[in-house]
């Protein structure tokens, strides 16, 4: 187990060092886009997968992360690598407060409340002209660190990938700790979780805080990649898009989330001649997974392993 982990880490580091030299700029940009999207959807997974709370606030968190760090950078002159973590912590706090306020309701009502939050944030961005540039949006400053500027996909690759890996490992770790166990428990029975001494509201609000934090970091990364913030990007539809990626990835599997993020980022390119029907393809994908594979891509992998095992056993 540890040997295979060491080998995996070794291969990972090797790939990380080699790929900027062999992959074309456009591919590196896509890898960054996948990583940033995966960070956003990891947040969705914590709140919707583990805590079992339907949230359509993810695109609002993404918007707050992108706008927050951009505004903070342009107004204070601090570099992005300082303002993004600060913003993300603040968005985490907003997530916690949002959770405390909305989690007294559940199911459809919670979905509606979080949807309203996304709508409010988008409206505020459109009408907050002096700060946000209003409907026209605003440019994102280039990422600078140690006197170097990272602006192309190939350059941002060195920033985004390590952060993604760190957040991925940390999220996976947290979900396999007592915190993940608590969320898993309250998802199945809030009454029993309370009877075991868990502060259910605090756990759920904590999950919202995590989704806010991850959404904001991912949002900052996406802003750096697109170099321009347009409030039209941060609609409720975008929240549904993140939710769809989470569903297809399998709500409880961080690895599935990464695979699913890749699928959603790369599909538009594969279906270029199909461009206007892309929404339809995503919708069918979502529907197909909900009906046929509610546990997402990760469950397909598990089934394949099982089939392989059983066929291996049949061979004498």
């Amino acid at each position: 187990m540890t040997i295979s982990k060491t080998i995996a880490a070794f291969v990972g580091v090797a790939l990380f060092l080699i790929s900027p030299h062999v992959l074309p700029e456009f591919r590196l940009f896509q890898v960054c886009l996948i990583a940033a999207t995966a960070v956003v959807v990891l947040g969705q997974t914590v709140v919707t997968g583990f805590a079992g709370q339907i949230s359509l606030a993810q695109s609002a968190f993404v918007a707050l992360g992108g706008y927050g760090s951009t505004i903070l950078s342009t107004s204070t002159g601090q570099p992005f690598w300082v303002t993004l973590p600060v913003t993300a912590v603040a968005v985490g706090v907003i997530g916690f407060v949002l959770g405390q306020a909305t989690l007294r309701v559940s199911g459809h009502y919670l979905a509606l409340a979080t949807m309203a939050f996304t709508a409010i944030v988008q409206l505020a961005l459109i009408h907050g002209d002096p700060l946000t540039g209003g409907a026209a949006g605003m440019p994102v400053p280039a990422f600078e660190m140690f006197g170097r500027t990272f602006s192309t996909g190939g350059e941002l690759f060195y920033v985004i990938l390590p952060v993604f890996v760190a957040l991925f490992v940390m999220t996976a770790n947290a979900m396999s700790s007592r915190f993940g166990r608590g969320l898993t428990a309250l998802r199945q029975s809030e009454t029993a979780a309370e009877a075991m001494g868990l502060d259910v509201l605090r756990y759920k609000a904590g999950a919202f805080a995590a989704s806010g934090f991850l959404g904001a970091i991912g949002g900052g990364m996406l802003a750096l990649l697109s170099t321009y913030l347009d409030p039209a990007q941060f609609s409720i539809t975008q929240s549904v898009y993140f939710l769809a990626i989470a569903v297809v990835g399998g709500m409880l599997s961080p690895v599935g989330i990464v695979v699913s993020s890749a699928l959603f980022v790369l599909l538009p390119e594969l279906l270029q001649s199909f461009q206007s029907y892309l929404g339809l393809v995503f919708a069918l994908l979502l529907l197909g997974f909900i009906v046929l594979r509610p546990e997402g891509i990760s469950s397909i992998a598990r089934t394949l392993v099982r089939v392989k095992d059983s066929s291996a056993r049949e061979v004498p």
């Binding site: 940390m170 999220t171 770790n173 947290a174 700790s177 007592r178 915190f179 166990r181 608590g182 898993t184 428990a185 199945q188 029975s189 009454t191 029993a192 979780a193 309370e194 009877a195 075991m196 001494g197 868990l198 502060d199 259910v200």
Partner: protein, 262 residues
């Protein structure tokens, strides 16, 4: 009688116009097994839910030793040392039996968020300790062979045992059992009796049990209170209660002899 561990004072619970509990007072002595019996709809489960904070009494007060607990949130009442099981079992079905028990132990083997996201520092030790303590509790209820089975895959009798192990994980002073024998076969009830008696006699745990299965209640209880239509109509030692004409009339009716196992 020494100072009661749990003291229920004149508690009333109403749902709209319906009076589920009407001025019930009850003392549970430390280290004893106290049973509350009564026909369906007598208010037994309501009483239990009022103690654990799921329902807020409209009137009266509930004390755990000197501290008033009515009106507190359920998880705070749990943390003061009151554990419970559920009538229809409320296990975390997708989790393994050992994880179910660890949920209650996590608070006693806690670590911070930073440790959780890095799996560094005290993580391994705290997890191992919680796992070991959970394994001990599973062993106590006779489930040590089923540690990695999903809770929902256990047969019903074992689910009840798992609920008891999980309740013990919070290290309670008072254990509330909501009809622990319902749906169990006679041999399983005997096993359950043995477990409860052992907990009470060797670990000094106080148990309040709600049930209408007589063999369980009559054999293990030190004291029995009888509820009917939300009121307490009798209380005493099992032998006393068994002969109380009011009880026989209100609760046991014509089938008294059979139900009492006499």
């Amino acid at each position: 009688m020494s100072a009661p561990l749990l003291s229920i004072r004149d508690v009333a619970v109403r749902f709209g116009g319906i009076v589920a509990l009407d001025g019930v007072s009850l003392d549970v002595a430390p280290g004893s097994i106290h049973a509350v019996i009564g026909p369906n709809g007598a208010g037994k489960s309501t009483l239990l839910n009022a103690i654990t904070g799921l329902y807020r009494p409209a009137n009266g007060a509930i004390f755990l030793q000197e501290k008033r607990i009515d009106g507190l949130a359920p998880h705070l009442i749990t943390r003061m040392g009151i554990a419970r099981t559920f009538q229809n079992t409320e296990l975390f079905g997708d989790m393994t039996t050992i994880e179910n028990v660890m949920i209650g132990l996590d608070r006693h083997h806690a670590y911070g968020l930073l440790t959780a996201v890095t799996h560094a520092g005290t993580f391994k030790r705290a997890e191992a300790e919680a796992r070991e303590a959970a394994a001990k509790l599973l062993d106590l209820v006779g489930l040590s062979g089923q540690m990695t089975v999903a809770a929902s895959a256990l047969p019903f009798g074992n689910q009840r045992r798992l609920e008891i192990a999980r309740a013990l994980a919070i290290q309670p002073r008072l254990l509330l059992l909501d009809e622990p024998a319902a749906g169990l076969r006679e041999a399983e009830i005997d096993d359950l009796n043995a477990i409860l008696l052992r907990l009470c006699r060797t670990q000094g745990l106080t148990i309040l049990v709600i049930d209408h299965v007589m063999p369980l209640v009559m054999t293990i209880s030190d004291r029995i209170s009888v509820l009917n239509f939300g009121r307490k109509i009798a209380e005493g030692e099992p032998e006393q209660v068994r002969r109380e004409p009011e009880v026989i009339k209100a609760y046991l009716g014509d089938r008294a002899k059979h139900a009492l196992g006499a």
